[in-house]
């Protein structure tokens, strides 16, 4: 694939410039997430007290992320029993699925394994569960911030190197970050709702399977869409439309 100085320039501009721009927008992002948390908590009827958690960067700078004050419900024997029955049900259901759903079978069994470890932990472990909902929220929001910050750099390495129009590259960068900016806090709020209703017994599954990985798939989906666009050179080689007259 031929390389050009122009493409190198736009790659650096969008990669480094995008990262710097994202950094400059972080305080607004923190406030936007605070607003979303406020609206989302009201909509979901979450009995939580909203506040802020300070994320401190190594250079001394920091960012206020939305946080919440709420007691983390731990599972009692009844909840563990229900969770065990539900897990067993999912396992059995995975065997009943037809062969064309084998990927779904495997995914359900992966969930069963993770959930079974959680049930086992709460049932048997002499140590207290080391995480609270506030920790869960903080870690997922921070990981989301990191993924969003990596978007311009990752696209610089893997998308901007292709011969796509500058505006398309810029558009895709903005779209992914904007999507994640809304998706990450809403996803975390759904986690909180589930944790308050199903107790901390679902926290490991939510954290390991439905946290950071979902952000990565959002990125992959947008990336796939972006790379299906016509390249700049293809666009310029399009034949002129035939004259109707």
């Amino acid at each position: 694939m031929p390389w050009s100085a122009g493409r190198l320039g736009t790659t650096i501009l969008l990669g480094v410039g995008g990262f710097a721009g994202y950094g400059a927008l972080l305080p607004w992002l923190g406030r936007f997430w605070g607003l979303l948390f406020d609206l989302g908590a009201t909509f979901l009827g979450l009995p939580v007290e909203l506040g802020a958690q300070r994320l401190t960067f190594p250079a001394g700078a920091g960012l206020d992320l939305p946080g919440l004050s709420v007691v983390t419900p731990l599972p009692d024997a009844r909840v563990l029993g229900i969770a065990a029955l539900a897990t067993l049900g999912v396992l059995l259901a995975s065997f009943l699925l037809p062969q064309r759903f084998i990927p779904l079978r495997y995914f359900l069994r992966l969930l069963v394994v993770v959930q079974a470890t959680a049930i086992l932990f709460f049932w048997q472990s002499p140590d207290p569960f080391p995480y609270r909902i506030a920790d869960h929220v903080f870690v997922l929001l921070t990981a989301g911030l990191v993924v969003m910050g990596l978007v311009p750099l990752a696209l610089g390495l893997t998308l901007h190197v292709f011969d796509l129009a500058f505006w398309r590259k810029l558009l895709l960068t903005v779209l992914i970050i904007a999507h994640l900016a809304v998706f990450v806090p809403l996803n975390v709020l759904v986690h909180v709702w589930l944790l308050l209703n199903a107790t901390a017994v679902v926290m490991p599954m939510l954290f390991l399977v439905f946290g950071l990985l979902l952000n990565v798939f959002v990125f992959v989906a947008f990336y796939g869409w972006g790379l299906s666009w016509r390249s700049d050179s293809e666009r310029q080689e399009l034949p002129l439309p035939m004259s109707a007259g």
Binding site: Y106, V139, T142, V146, L150, P204, V216, Y223, S231
Partner: protein
């Protein structure tokens, strides 16, 4: 306990990072590096005699198409002998072969096996000895479901004019792409594997892999390394490394495309990848030490790439182990104790690390000029999940049954095409 688990996790992540870097390097090389295809322009030559071996076991659905396509190739007919190998088929394969042999005497010489060890490797070994009488210095191998184009045989033979080349591999392109999500995903995987991986290895002077079909070996090289091994599930990987360790080159021809039928059902795909994983792991056990010691003729980077190629099916179980360790550390509260730096590291690895394979596939599809397919990229995770479980299971059962040496049998992929089925559009011989 915790330090041990953390150390183990770091070690696993370090291995994953090496594979990630390899993916990125290969992809960037394919996008911007010098494209090395030294034999592609050889169109006229004194073409040598070639024997084409086609191992068959119950291939009545596809073997007729295969023979028709080979007979229509533009390779000089007097220099080409087709040797379909029937290994104890219980369907109509043998009858079809005898019928073709009657119609094309001398050009098609079936080799009919009724005894000996079962399996493709054993069939190839016996057929190679049988082919000695034909005096063909080049042996090409095709699976029975492939549809070679008119010019393919010349393209695959051309690299053998280079006396250092011991084996040649062409590009496998799925034929039944539009059958299901699975076939579309396999099409994407093949694109990444051949258009990017194999060609980058060729470009960089590493170890392109002879894949057991759409390729072949020089007979003298084959004899020099002791012929096909009967006791392997992946005679192709085994042959690649025996040739490379003996000083022969393996050439990859990206433009030498041949159409294959990919599995259309998940059980069929799982069986296929389990077989590949077991065979590859066998080859790893046999050749890793020789590669690590690195014979003098082998470049350091080729040796390293060879080791990584051999270990590729061990990555699945390793990744599963890594997830298990990460889960244990989660319950031990290590995630919070490690602090912000750990969150950053995990997020970075999850993003850039996991993304390397997607980048490779997407780049391959763009290089093929079929960008519409890239929209399916996120669905690749479906295929990855199934492969991960299947490969891990294959590895675990292989370790558990390492002492058991049962007889080798055919472990073949289910065919979906019917004998009377029309040849797909654009693939006419």
């Amino acid at each position: 306990m915790i330090p041990v688990l953390v150390g183990l996790l770091y070690a696993i992540v370090a291995i994953m990072v090496i594979y990630t870097i390899r993916h990125y390097l290969f992809t960037l090389n394919r996008l911007f590096g010098r494209h090395r295809q030294p034999y592609v322009d050889i169109g006229a030559a004194a073409w040598p005699r070639v024997a084409i071996l086609i191992p068959c076991h119950n291939e009545e659905k596809v073997i007729g198409h295969m023979l028709d396509f080979l007979l229509a190739c533009d390779y000089p007919a007097e220099q080409l002998v087709l040797i379909p190998i029937d290994d104890r088929s219980t369907d109509g394969t043998r009858g079809i072969l005898e019928e073709y042999a009657g119609r094309f005497p001398g050009r098609i010489r079936p080799f009919l096996r009724s005894g000996g060890k079962g399996g493709k490797a054993a069939a190839l070994r016996d057929a190679s000895e049988h082919a000695a009488g034909i005096d063909a210095p080049i042996h090409l191998v095709f699976d029975a479901d492939y549809l070679p184009g008119r010019g393919l045989i010349k393209q695959l033979v051309a690299p053998f004019f280079d006396p250092e080349v011991g084996a040649v591999m062409g590009r496998v392109v799925p034929l039944n792409v539009s059958r299901s999500l699975l076939t579309r995903l396999l099409d994407l995987e093949r694109t990444g594997g051949y258009q990017v991986d194999q060609q980058a290895r060729m470009n960089l002077g590493l170890v392109p892999q002879y894949g057991g079909t759409v390729g072949g070996v020089r007979r003298s090289a084959l004899l020099a390394v002791g012929g096909w091994r009967e006791d392997t599930l992946a005679e192709d990987t085994d042959m690649t490394f025996r040739l490379v360790l003996a000083g022969w080159e393996v050439a990859y021809q990206n433009r030498s495309e041949c159409y294959e039928e990919v599995p259309e059902t998940w059980p069929s795909r799982i069986a296929q990848i389990k077989r590949w994983a077991k065979g590859h792991n066998q080859a790893m056990r046999r050749h890793w030490w020789a590669l690590l010691k690195r014979p003098p003729h082998l470049r350091r980077r080729a040796s390293l790439d060879g080791l990584l190629l051999l270990g590729v099916y061990a990555v699945g179980p390793l990744l599963m182990l890594g997830w298990g360790v990460a889960l244990a550390l989660y319950y031990l509260g290590v995630q919070l104790a490690a602090g912000l730096a750990a969150i950053f590291a995990v997020a970075m690895y999850s993003t850039l690390g996991n993304f390397a394979a997607f980048f490779e596939v997407a780049a391959g599809a763009r290089l093929d000029g079929s960008r519409g397919r890239v929209k399916l990229l996120p669905f690749l995770i479906v295929g990855f999940l199934v492969s991960l479980v299947a490969v891990t299971w294959a590895g675990v059962t292989q370790i558990a049954t390492v002492w058991r040496r049962g007889p080798r049998t055919w472990e073949k992929t289910v065919r979906h095409r019917g004998p009377g089925a029309p040849v797909p559009e654009g693939k006419e011989s």
